[in-house]
């Protein structure tokens, strides 16, 4: 495991979205605590898996790390440099090293550009290749993600959902970045392509010492690709550690739920009741006091609704839960 150089680090990163009610003059403004004080570290060449309920702020965190959103507070250090202190040109240069694969493939593709342009754009932007050479590189990228050359002149709307996702992946790979934030990169792909893409990401990582922040809800995949796994709940990290540790010995009740909820690929097993989370889904606008999970936690104690647990380190396996107070 590469635990040498830290490539990206976030320091107490927060993002609150202000949402107003309807109507022009409504004063009803509220903050969605999408990301609420996140500290994480990714070492070079490592894959950080980020799992968590949908809406818990994973995509927002990804965007913040790339400075596609301005944070409410906090820092993101890339190779020790705070990217929020950079000016436009520096940031632009930095983009070559950091890429993102978007969750929603269709929306992130310009409907008026043919695929070859979309994938070729980063190459042109960073003056890697132009003209025929670019075409060729684009072609190769497309092959790598399982698209074919006859797709090159098509427009995004002419593709199926999975194909669109592959366009996004090809675009992110084009520049050989050091860090790729993969926001659910394979969830729209069928298993065969999924396997191809995961193999590809793996290969690239080995070849170029790539670093991934891999956002997914598919725990099987996260386990397969990640070195470290962070579990997020409502804008906060509730558990973090080596992938193996987390899967073998999940500490936080939420993590345990997550793991048990993975569907089994065997129809015979489906009657064996899965554990379904009970209780109201807490709101990011008014997160519950104390531990944010306590409203749904079967192990909730009195303390949980009062005091917010801190993220504590148990030999590199961190957890924020009062069950493990020491």
């Amino acid at each position: 495991m590469n635990s040498n150089e830290v490539l990206v680090e976030t320091v107490d990163l927060k993002k609150h979205f202000i949402v107003g009610g309807e109507g022009l003059f409504s004063k009803k403004k509220k903050a969605v605590h999408a990301v609420d004080g996140i500290n994480l570290k990714v070492a070079k060449g490592e894959t950080l898996g980020l799992v968590g309920e949908s809406g818990c702020g994973k995509s927002t965190l990804g965007r913040l790390i790339l400075r596609l959103l301005e944070p409410t507070s906090g820092k993101v250090l890339f190779k020790g440099q705070n990217i929020y202190d950079m000016n436009g040109e520096e940031l632009r240069k930095l983009r070559k090293k950091m890429q993102i694969i978007f969750q929603d493939p269709y929306a992130s593709l310009n409907p008026r550009m043919p695929v070859s342009e979309i994938i070729g754009e980063p190459l042109e932007t960073h003056e890697v290749a132009f003209g025929k050479e670019k075409e060729k590189m684009v072609y190769e990228l497309m092959r790598e993600v399982g698209l074919r050359s006859y797709h090159m002149k098509r427009y995004p709307h002419q593709f199926s959902g999975g194909q669109r996702q592959r366009i996004g992946i090809a675009r992110a790979l084009a520049l050989n970045p050091e860090l790729i934030i993969c926001d659910e990169p394979v969830s729209a792909l069928d298993v065969s392509i999924q396997a191809q893409v995961l193999n590809l990401l793996k290969d690239l990582q080995q070849q170029f010492q790539l670093t991934y922040i891999f956002i997914s809800h598919d725990l099987r995949i996260v386990k397969y690709v990640s070195d470290k796994v962070y579990v997020m709940f409502l804008g906060k990290i509730v558990e973090a550690g080596n992938a193996k540790d987390i899967y073998d010995e999940p500490l936080h009740p939420y993590t345990r739920f997550l793991i048990s909820a993975v569907p089994k690929v065997n129809p015979r097993l489906r009657e064996s009741k899965r554990v379904i989370l009970q209780g109201d889904v807490p709101s990011p606008v008014n997160p519950p006091a104390g531990c944010r999970f306590h409203t749904r936690c079967p192990n909730a104690m009195k303390q949980c609704s009062i005091e917010e647990p801190e993220l504590k380190d148990f030999n590199g396996h961190m957890v924020a839960c009062h069950l493990y107070s020491r």
């Binding site: 596609l68 929603d104 992130s108 310009n110 932007t125 074919r148 050359s149 427009y155 996004g168």
Partner: protein, 301 residues
């Protein structure tokens, strides 16, 4: 063995398919445009107009300046297909010659003001904040400003000439385009593919040109095609200010406004320039629609 098979397949496929699909954007647009009958009619009409404008001298049956007061107000006949005007000049020849000025006046100022308006509109919408405020407030001012006064000032400071009309019309015209483009930009810049472009590190200027501008095309083409008749008409009103085409130079705008008096007594004098304008407008609208469709990837079929 399997790997090999795959690679062979790739190689030949690449060579073969690159040839077929290695078309350029322009070719592709042209391909789609060509299939649109109306658009082709529009394009053909515009080309004919340009042709007529260039070769007016050889096409027109009479000298458009030849005054013969004794032949005034002759109705259309085999000699004068569109009749004669108050000075006995041949209407057809004047219409033919008028194509020159009117096409130029219709197109150039519209293009200039569209260009200025698009640039300012995109910049304003994209950056927002202070830049937006400044540009849009200036646009407010321009829009509220009496264009008559502006045109007069231009005429007195730069002199009365047809080229100064371009300037005058462009100064007045950009504000509307800017607002339309800005509105469009405001909406497009919030879309995720713009975020994607930023994530790649595309420069702001490139984002504006490659990503936002093409998505503003639809309203822009409409504004362009609508701007042409408006410009031709405003040449007529500028003629009242003495900045339009100078008599006896034939321009449709001038002809149409002078013909007003005879709308009932000698209708051919008034109607033929109007008809000419209508043809131009229709042609450009067909052309614009065709372009819009050809540029719209959804129409790819």
């Amino acid at each position: 063995m399997m790997e090999n098979k795959k690679d062979d397949f790739v190689k030949e496929e690449y060579d073969e398919e690159m040839e077929i699909y290695g078309t350029t954007f322009i070719k592709e647009v042209w391909y789609r445009f060509r299939k649109n009958r109306m658009a082709m009619i529009g394009a053909a009409t515009v080309i004919i107009m340009v042709f007529v404008a260039i070769f007016a001298k050889w096409i027109s049956p009479y000298d458009p300046y030849a005054v013969d007061l004794l032949k005034q107000f002759q109705p259309p006949s085999s000699q004068h297909i569109l009749g004669t005007d108050i000075y006995g000049r041949d209407m057809l020849s004047r219409i033919i010659y008028g194509t020159r000025i009117s096409l130029i006046i219709g197109l150039i100022p519209t293009l200039i003001s569209m260009t200025i308006g698009s640039v300012l509109g995109i910049v304003s919408g994209y950056y927002g904040g202070k830049i937006d405020t400044v540009i849009m407030r200036i646009a407010d001012m321009v829009m509220a400003f009496p264009s008559l006064l502006l045109a007069m000032v231009v005429m007195y400071t730069l002199g009365a000439s047809i080229y100064n009309i371009f300037i005058a019309l462009s100064i007045v015209g950009w504000a509307g385009t800017a607002r339309v483009v800005r509105a469009q930009t405001l909406s497009i810049k919030e879309k995720e593919f713009i975020e994607a472009a930023k994530a790649i590190g595309v420069k702001n200027s490139v984002i504006m040109i490659r990503h936002i501008f093409p998505n503003c095309m639809a309203p822009l083409l409409v504004l362009l095609t609508m701007g042409i008749p408006e410009a031709i008409m405003s040449e007529a009103s500028l003629s009242f200010l003495g900045v339009g085409a100078q008599p006896p130079t034939p321009s449709w705008g001038l002809m149409i406004s002078n013909g007003k008096e005879y709308l009932f007594s000698a209708p051919w004098v008034a109607i033929s320039p109007g008809f000419a304008i209508l043809i131009v407008v229709l042609a450009f609208n067909f052309l614009g629609d065709g372009l819009r469709d050809a540029l719209d990837p959804y129409m790819k079929q």
